[in-house]
């Protein structure tokens, strides 16, 4: 490609530049030209507007049930109001990176960790997985797993997620943020797994703080037959249940 970028040449490739599909070298040359040519900047600005308008013509679609809760939970958990002023964003984001990624990615990291940590009955995901994630190289993760939204038995809202990886070793990950009368509950909860044949297996206990908690555990046996999960309080009260479905999970990482 010629390095002689001028207005005529810019007009030829302006559309591709505006749509973001111009190869790197041509783009670099075009950008250099725009820096010194107001007319071409205006030309590309108009074309960019066309591209945006084109995307704006795409129809709206209703996201899957529970999406609103999942999407809104991430920012809400990460930035206390008193921490908001300018300058906090970067700090908050660094903190967010480990926690705000999709739990699916966390699970992939947990699976990796479990290959070297088999034997632990369970651990607090919050810290352990942060460290695993921090050292993980970006990669595209693709795993077959069982997933389900955790639904409150009181109000019926989505209050968390359950992921089960039926590999060797199998593992379970639970993320929950209770609402309603148990929103402030701090104490032990028990995770029970339901199999398609009706068996119910207690997989372990973990602690909720203020109704919130994340927990991962190596789970023995065949997890591919799981149909559901539930969380109970020590007195047997069922806090939330989940119906598990098979899914192929891919997490492209940039």
């Amino acid at each position: 490609m010629s390095g002689d970028m001028n207005c005529g040449r810019l007009r030829e490739i302006g559309a591709e530049l505006a749509l973001g599909v111009l190869p790197g070298r041509e783009r670099a040359e075009a950008v250099a030209h725009l820096d010194r040519c107001a007319n071409c900047r205006e030309y590309v600005r108009q074309l960019t507007l066309v591209g945006d308008r084109l995307i704006g013509l795409l129809p709206e679609r209703e996201p899957p049930p529970g999406f609103e809760t999942r999407a809104a939970r991430l920012p809400a958990r990460q930035a206390p109001a008193h921490e908001a002023p300018a300058g906090a964003a970067d700090r908050a984001f660094r903190h967010l990176r480990g926690r705000a990624r999709r739990a699916r990615l966390r699970l992939a990291a947990v699976a990796t960790a479990l290959t070297v940590a088999v034997g632990f009955a369970g651990w607090g995901i919050g810290t352990a997985v942060e460290e695993v994630l921090a050292s993980s190289a970006p990669a595209a993760e693709s795993e077959l797993m069982l997933v389900g939204d955790m639904t409150s038995t009181v109000g019926g809202e989505t209050v968390g997620e359950v992921y089960a990886h039926p590999g060797t070793p199998g593992w379970i990950f639970v993320s929950v943020g209770l609402t309603g009368p148990h929103a402030s509950y701090t104490g032990k909860v028990t995770c029970l797994l339901e199999h398609a044949d009706g068996r119910i297996v207690r997989v372990g206990d973990f602690t909720l703080n203020g109704g919130r908690g994340e927990w991962g555990v190596a789970a023995p046996g065949d997890l591919s037959t799981l149909s559901g999960a539930r969380l109970t309080m020590p007195d047997g009260t069922v806090l939330a249940t989940a119906h598990l479905q098979k899914g192929q999970v891919v997490e492209p990482e940039k």
Partner: protein
Amino acid sequence: MIFRGGRAGGRAIPWRPSSVYRGVSGFRSPVDRLPDEALLSGLATGDPELAVVFVRRFQRRVFGVAMAVTGDEQLAEDVAQSTFERAWRHAQIYDSRRGSVTTWLTTIAHNLAVDAVRARRTEPMAPEDLDAVIGVVTETPEQWALADETAAQLRAAVARLPREQARALVMAGIYGMTAQQIADAERIPLGTAKTRIRAAMAKLRTTLASPKRGDHVR
């Protein structure tokens, strides 16, 4: 910058003045009535109620873009979730003088969706998906025309494009395909692919620049 960058580095958000608030139906609280820009500003404070309202207001738009590009519900959900994460992360640097929140969000969603598809598969889109997208962006139901005259004119202009130009436009503008990828997919010379993109964009630019003369596009 006023242009979009390459996909690998993301693209600059194109800005345009916008003070129009497009509200949503079913208001439930005063927070629901906040203008988009104010809601985004509040999102940066980590207020959980604002986060819910923000997601509720834009989730269909964001998910729609993600679905159109990826054609995969699970991948689209991941893209949509990442879009809201980025919105929260960058809320403090958003400049309302340079563009609407809707455009800002859909641009983020579109970039993420294109990147996600590129990371996942070699073919950016299936031929039948392309025809479907051309269909939806050229639909001109009456209620849409009444709601947004400019969008209606743009739809009509896309519909009037020669089919091969419309295909090239959607491949590049929606699916983020390069001219070379379009040339390969359409089995045409690279120069022809570039010409089709350029010709289509030029006609649409004319339509937006002179809305009342949109019917002159050929």
